[in-house]
Amino acid sequence: AQSVAQPEDQVNVAEGNPLTVKCTYSVSGNPYLFWYVQYPNRGLQFLLKYITGDNLVKGSYGFEAEFNKSQTSFHLKKPSALVSDSALYFCAVRTSLYSGAGSYQLTFGKGTKLSVIP
């Protein structure tokens, strides 16, 4: 089964410091990987995705992620954390649905709570 794992329930970082939120994947074939952010009582906001091409993907709000095939990882990074970055972050992988060719869903990791300390 195709899945992603987020090994950390919580990450704490000081404002202005670089942040990393970890994600590893288990996928047969080429993975399509995504990062979403969720603020309290809100839906999921898309940050970035890796489909193919450059291993370093740049996304919204200054976030980026590095696809590493040998380590099967897709860690989310930001050079300088802001207090407003404090939220729940989900890594996801596109997985097939049985309903029809070309039909897919996102399967999520359990999420990592990021707290940026002023």
Partner: protein, 112 residues
């Protein structure tokens, strides 16, 4: 802007009283999804519509149903809500073969 809209944002219902959550989209995406997200957990797929075809996940309780009267709208019906159904319900859309998944803001359901 094209988007996915969920109503209401917050819904309080009584134990056992049927409730309906709604989702609309202006993206003209052919696939619509309902996810359930319990506190501090990952979203879990309940079912999806591929065009007009309804597809249930194997472990989705019978208490949950869905309707999609047209491309733009999709409804989640909970026939007899229990305390364990309290959660955030997320609607999402995508188009065939496009690697884009757009989520609504969610409906937070409370069962009292």
């Amino acid at each position: 802007d094209a988007m996915v809209i969920q109503n209401p944002r917050y819904q309080v219902t009584q134990f056992g009283k049927p409730v309906t959550l709604s989702c609309s989209q202006t993206l003209n995406h052919n696939v619509m999804y309902w996810y359930q997200q319990k506190s501090s957990q990952a979203p879990k797929l309940l079912f999806h519509y591929y065009d007009k075809d309804f597809n249930n996940e194997a472990d989705t309780p019978d208490n949950f149903q869905s309707r999609r009267p047209n491309t733009s709208f999709c409804f989640l019906d909970i026939r007899s809500p229990g305390l364990g159904d309290a959660a955030m319900y997320l609607c999402a859309t995508s188009r065939d073969r496009e690697k884009v998944y757009t989520f609504g803001s969610g409906t937070r359901l409370t069962v009292v």
